[in-house]
């Protein structure tokens, strides 16, 4: 091509690839002509030079300083890349060696176990192999039974929990005097702060209030207070349910209650000298964590004999001390006793 005086630099693209087996980015670096020439010159047969063929116009001396510097830079880069590759390989090797070590240890442990089992078998009957299979199964079953028993213990303690991905899930299982009743769940998140994610606590239990007081500061206290509330509610409800179930013949009319079972109002019959008199009782459970009433008002009709006033007072005292259904059980237990005598402590066993 005729030279027009304009410089036309042709660039050779030299690819630099990394070492084997290591993934790296391929860099294409445009290298000026001189360096390419410098790199290629040793490959040419003696005496010839590319420069003479390709150039037109200015003369590029392969011995230029910049060219030399660039060549050195390229070499250094190559060397660095190679070193990185070797380092990575060494790292990988070390990792694999560690893993081999681990696996060997595991294998030794398992071997020891198998030997132990076999020895045990030998010690027992002197027969090997065939009994190894059922024995493993028996071991598994025993393990499952053990775990189930442990979980049952957790459940019986009343508060159990399980770590979840984002926090912890508590289960509060309630009971009243030996009877296990409902379980309630609380799903808590621990980040960014402790908060309730989901729950199955009934709406009339003041969960938000308790959480506001204790959740952030003292989670044990929070769980303990909540557990008290729930156990007390469940206990009150159980007493009312038992009363309706077993002593409905003694109750006149409906049993007025509410969701929390902390206010019960009803009429019941008291017999004296083979006549029945209706008593009206109002039970107020002032303590949300208590399952015995704090306020009892037992009243009878104005035309009732005076002796019944004592009975009313005795009943009132009894309701304050003893569970509702047990109090009623004691009524029916001592009903055949001396007429007009005030009811004392419950005669029937628990």
């Amino acid at each position: 091509m005729p030279g027009t005086g304009r410089q036309r630099r042709r660039h050779f693209v030299v690819r630099q690839t990394e070492g084997n087996g290591v993934q790296g980015s391929r860099r294409k670096r445009k290298v000026p002509r001189e360096e390419a020439l410098a790199a290629l010159t040793p490959l040419l047969p003696k005496g010839r030079s590319l420069a003479g063929k390709m150039e037109e116009g200015k003369a590029y001396s392969p011995d230029g300083v910049f060219a030399h510097l660039e060549m050195l830079e390229a070499r250094a880069h190559e060397a660095a890349v190679k070193q990185e590759a070797t380092e990575q390989q060494e790292e990988k090797l070390a990792r694999l060696k560690a893993r081999v070590q681990e696996l060997r240890l595991q294998r030794d442990e398992l071997r020891a176990k198998v030997d132990l089992q076999q020895k045990g078998q030998l010690g027992k009957e002197g027969v090997v192999s065939d009994l190894a299979q059922p024995s493993a199964r028996a071991v598994l079953e025993w393990k499952i039974k053990n775990i189930k028993a442990t979980l049952q213990i957790f459940y019986l303690t009343g508060i159990s929990g399980k770590l979840t991905k984002r926090g912890v899930c508590f289960c509060i299982s309630t009971a009243y005097e030996g009877t296990y009743l409902d379980s309630y769940y609380l799903d808590l998140l621990t980040k960014p702060e402790v908060q309730i994610h989901r729950h199955s606590v009934p709406i009339f239990i003041p969960l938000e209030q308790i959480a506001k007081k204790y959740l952030q500061t003292d989670i044990r206290r929070f769980l303990s207070v909540l557990s008290d509330h729930l156990n007390a509610y469940v206990g009150r409800r159980y007493q009312a349910d038992q009363l309706q179930e077993h002593f409905s013949d003694q109750i006149e009319g409906p049993l007025q209650r509410n969701s929390l079972c902390n206010l019960l109002v009803f009429n019941y019959n008291v017999s004296s000298r083979s006549k029945t008199f209706p008593f009206n009782v109002r039970l107020l459970y002032g303590d949300p964590c208590g399952s015995l009433p704090t306020e009892v008002i037992v009243s009878c009709t104005p035309d009732a004999p005076a002796s019944l006033a004592e009975t009313a007072a005795a009943h009132s005292d009894l309701f304050r001390r003893v569970a509702l259904h047990k109090a009623f059980r004691s009524f029916s237990g001592t009903e055949e006793s001396v007429d007009g005598a005030p009811v004392g402590h419950p005669a029937s066993p628990q």
Binding site: Q152, K162, S173, I203, N258, S259, L263, G286
Partner: protein, 376 residues
Amino acid sequence: MDETVAEYIRRTVLKIPRDEIKTMLQKWGFLSETQLQTINFHQIKENISQDVVQLCEENSADIKQAAVLDIIYNHIYPNKRVWSVYQMNKTGEETEFFDLTDFKKKFKRRLRSALKNVTINFREYEDNAIWIRIAWGTPYTKPNQYKTSYVVYHSQTPYVFVSASVLKSNLPLLCQALVVASNYHDIREMELRSHSLNSLKDIVFKRYSQNFQTYCPRPLQERNVAPESADLRIIQENRHEKERIQRVNREVFGDGPQPQLEFAQYKLETMFKSDSKMDVLDKKEPFRCMVKFSSPHLLESLKSLAPAGMADAPLSPLLTCIPQKARNYFKIREKKSLFPGSFMKIIFKDHYRAWGRRDSWNIDVSKKFPSSFSGY
């Protein structure tokens, strides 16, 4: 007996399915057993209702007894009405001692002080539910027994379930009376509506099945394992994916039955996002549209979307949060978040091919959806 009362009783009996009439009258308890024996319950309903009215005449029923029959009917068939949920607030921390007689007295007094012509009836049920029936009149007319509102309230809870009649103007009065009677401070309507009263109760009282991770030993439910195909040449290729979907579904929806809702409504006020090929809008303004999901049993159908292969699992939280957030009306706005690139898509496969040649209809909503929701 009043003509209107007779007519009202007759019409109420006509509503009841013939097989149930006898049991409902027994529950009512106004007619004695001997009287009920005289009615032939196998004739046509028209005649049965006439017989019942006859007997009520003998017992001189008044509107109160007739109202009780109406309450019983609505208690057994609550799904014929649409129920909405109201939430009450109070700031006090004292323990509630809910006294039923006190509640009834306060409610009646408050309501009657504002409007004399109302019929109010109460009935309590075993699950601590108080049913209130209100027939509305005006200051100049007697209460219209056919325009009734029903209120169901569980004591010591902040939720009230209201099935309002067409007379919406009486709602503020009703709300006021409820607040005063139950010792709360204010009341607001929640974005939750359905025909199924029990499902609404399940949602707000958190009685629906939530899947809690616990160690509590529960008996493993016998899941219907599909019988292993006798032909070993048949291999389930997507078994892992199917199991993953089942697992994710169980985590989100739980094991038990879902509360029954009929619809979920999403009002979108977000910007329409599309690639330049589908430039529907020239200007960048919010694309207002409303997406409404309807179904006889919405949550069950959402639960079966992923296993049926119609949507990706896990489903969008917008759909799965319905029971937990206790709402089925949503308003979605653009969330001005710090990360404008974080958007989430609900992708329904193979539907809505009408839009150009796209295979999926993307509804982009902000990822941090809970904070961008607001009341309807």
